[in-house]
Symmetry: none
Subunit: 219 residues, 2 copies
DNA sequence: ACGGACCTCCCCCGCGCGGGGGAGACGAAC
DNA sequence: GTTCGTCTCCCCCGCGCGGGGGAGGTCCGT
């Protein structure tokens, strides 16, 4: 059965674009649309989508508030994928704190959009999507900081979690392999899985996510 | 059954000396060695030593932080015997708070060293050497003395600190170069300087040190 | 009995990374 | 003045890392 998606955006063009991109996938089905945050909750209750693609800036109720409302009031809530523009970056982390499962830039390539929907639908999270990574390049302030809930929901397997713990201790793949008494190739597989699930580009970003999420604790 | 000991010191000569002294005892067996704090945890898990002879000044994770890490993450942790020199005086109190079971001066006589290992292995807190104890008292009542962090001691230049901050946000060298509007080669130089000063092997270990020392803060 | 998740190991391949050097420009301190 | 530290850029070079595949094993729930 396909992944069902509810589109929430006040711009009809954006909804049409998402519908075109997502609808082209055989395993994804767009089951409904909403033009403002207030309409989301009844629609979620009626349509029971797997994923809600949620815009940030909307009339009546913005994406942050709508996310909180859905997660607070709906039993067995859908995954929330926050769809944002580059200018909304100050809201991104607030959205993740509200319980969103990931975020996505509108300028992302179609393949990335599809990938993001599949990931959150699978119960995984997006910490550093490639298209959003540029946000981190805007330094100076606001520390690109994901919410604690994101990594907790990343659903790492036991082995992957153990590997991440060792990565967060500064061990190389070879050292991890020695420590776990497995082959170096095996560790590479686990590391790749961790990077993919966290949306991290390299082990450094994965370790950062581990610290930022409380997966490992300083001192 | 003999008392099993894990040696943790970045200097091969010190490890060799301890191994010679301790190994000569029929009731003490050196079961492993580590050259830095990060390697301690997997080794402790695998070897399950009774006692860890822990140096204070080591690359990546110093003895204090390694002690905390072991006691926090390992079930049924070994006794921690901190091996220190007079130059390490300032860390004694920190080691106490970290949960170390005893102290040992590197200049101690072989008989004292053996005695210290047997004592902590027996579950007794080692009576601090007089010189060490005075220091502990001095620092103990002087509450509010912040421990000098690894990074403060590292004396990073302003530029190096800025580069480390960006490394700790998950940026690649090229991204840092773009952000600081300098050449990629320049960033490489700064990164290399940071790694050298922190005793880190790669950027991941540097970022870990940044978190562990409070140079960057989660949340 | 079957699929699916998980762990394990293997291949090839490109590239970013880090170490080893060096060198010029600038300002502060001596 | 000279020295020193810092910041900047450059070279070469090896290798660890991460992506792309695949494949066989166990265990478990259906």
């Amino acid at each position: 059965m396909p992944v069902t998606v509810l589109l929430v955006d006040d711009e009809i063009l954006v909804r049409a674009g998402l519908r075109a991109v997502l609808g082209a996938q055989s395993d994804i089905e767009v089951v409904g649309e909403a033009a403002d945050g207030a309409a989301v909750i009844p629609l979620v209750r009626r349509l029971r989508p797997d994923v809600v693609a949620m815009d940030v800036r909307m009339p009546l109720l913005d994406g942050i508030e709508a996310t909180r409302a859905v997660l607070r009031t709906v039993a067995d809530p859908p995954k929330i994928l926050v769809v944002t523009t580059f200018e909304d970056d100050e809201y991104v982390y607030e959205a993740l704190r509200a319980g969103a499962d990931g975020f996505l830039l509108k300028r992302a390539r179609p393949a990335e959009i599809v990938h993001a929907v599949r990931l959150v639908a699978a119960g995984e999270s997006l910490l550093f999507p490639a298209s959003v990574r540029r946000l981190a390049e805007r330094y100076g302030d606001g520390s690109g900081r994901p919410a604690r809930s994101v990594l907790e929901r990343a659903r790492l397997t036991e082995r992957e979690a153990e590997v991440l713990r060792l990565m967060a201790r500064g061990l190389s793949n070879a050292e991890i392999a020695a420590g776990l008494v497995v082959g170096a190739e095996t560790v590479k597989s686990h590391v790749s899985a961790v990077l993919a699930k966290l949306g991290a580009r390299d082990r450094t970003q994965a370790v950062i996510a581990a610290y930022e999420s409380g997966f490992v604790e300083p001192r």
